[in-house]
Amino acid sequence: MDSLTSPVKSAHPEGTAYGTVLDADVALRFSTLDAEYEAIRERAALLDLSGERIIEITGDAASAFAQRVLARDVEYLTAERCMTSLVLAEDGTAVDQVVVWGRETGLLLESSVGGGTRLLEHLKANADAGVEITDRTAEFALFGLEGPYAWGVVGRLIDGELAALPFESVVDTQWDGVDIVFARTGVTGEYGYKVLVPAESAEQLWTKAMEQAVPAGQEAVELAMLEVRQPVMRHEAGEGVDVLEMGAGWLVDITKEEFIGRDAVMAAFEAAAERRTVGFSGGDTVPAAGTPVTVDGEQIGEVVHAVHSIGLGSALGLLRLPPDLAAAGLKLTVGDTEVTTLTSPYVTPKSWSTPII
């Protein structure tokens, strides 16, 4: 399957830095990480989410199939709602994290950035009779707006009433005369919105949106996600790592009686845990994944993933530790640096104290 590229790439700012994220060629930085991060945390940022695949599930058995492949309960998901869910393999490991958009004719699954090919293959491998699975990615562009004042941008660009929709609402509406699907959902903890637009109008609408918000690339988005402990699948979901070890059990409805991976998740829940994930900060040097975590020279765990947090002004990352040490407020050594384990969120989003007016 071809690598995804953005349909609005030609309208990206000059000097945009690109990189490969799994199956997608995405904008890593449009300008500077500092400027883009500042837009996400202080103002409003525009995201080009074209590295995510849009997969449609239709057919008489679509609803039953979705219930079987999604770890959360979508039985009553209407065309006006969306939700985030994990898709699990039989062994309880995560195939992908998706946003499920309710639609009149079925469901749309929005993959994680670069995770779409793996997701599509998994869905097709588990397809039932009466289900059609169609990759609609080429027909759309998906944009995001995130930030404490993203609601203002929604008002100026599309319709002010959309800004205050309840979380995870979906609306069919128009933007500059173009039919779009609008959702209130995001990943950075700030006010977040997504707009699914037809590919043929994407460049026109992206250019309009750039007049109102600062484009932010994948690096700034992943940093902001980590700061609020939103899973970044490509860093956190490794081979043999179950969702409880990831700390992503909240993306699984364990009260749902049947779905792929449920038995493995239940077995892991009932068994003695071997490792758990906890956040940490400290030091100026960003440790590589796999860097040992030690106490008095004894290795007790390792780094899962780390970055430099602009919000904290230090390294920020995740550790995998034995369950009896996976708690906030502990001083540990990562490499040669003393770090402190943290409570989530590691950075408090400004949107939590910024009303929509």
Binding site: R229, G247, W250, I254, L325, A326, K331, T343, S344, P345
Partner: protein, 96 residues
């Protein structure tokens, strides 16, 4: 701190977190085992998906269970179970 000191500090936080999870499940009548909730799980919006009415219920429950009044409408208190633990058990707060 030695490994045993660290384990003791972690156990103290995990006990408070477990008490909070049990309180949330009981007061809000959630159909899950308390241990299913993770310490870092967001409580509102994404995550446990509690709403503003649930907040009011939790204010009352926290005061009854921990003797701590949280009436300052600072939503960051509910950022996660572990964050809430910092507020209901001052011995856990980073400055302690």
């Amino acid at each position: 701190m030695t490994l045993e000191d660290l384990r003791a500090a972690a156990a103290l936080r995990q006990q408070t977190c477990a008490q909070i999870k049990k309180m949330i499940v009981s007061r809000l009548d959630l159909p899950i085992e308390p241990a299913w909730i993770t310490d870092d799980q967001p409580l509102f919006g994404r995550g446990l998906e509690l709403d503003s009415l649930d907040v009011l219920e939790l204010y009352v429950a926290i005061e009854a269970e921990f003797g701590v009044a949280l009436y300052d409408s600072d939503m960051s208190v509910f950022g996660s179970v572990s964050r809430l633990a910092d507020h209901v058990n001052p011995a856990l707060a980073p400055s302690a």
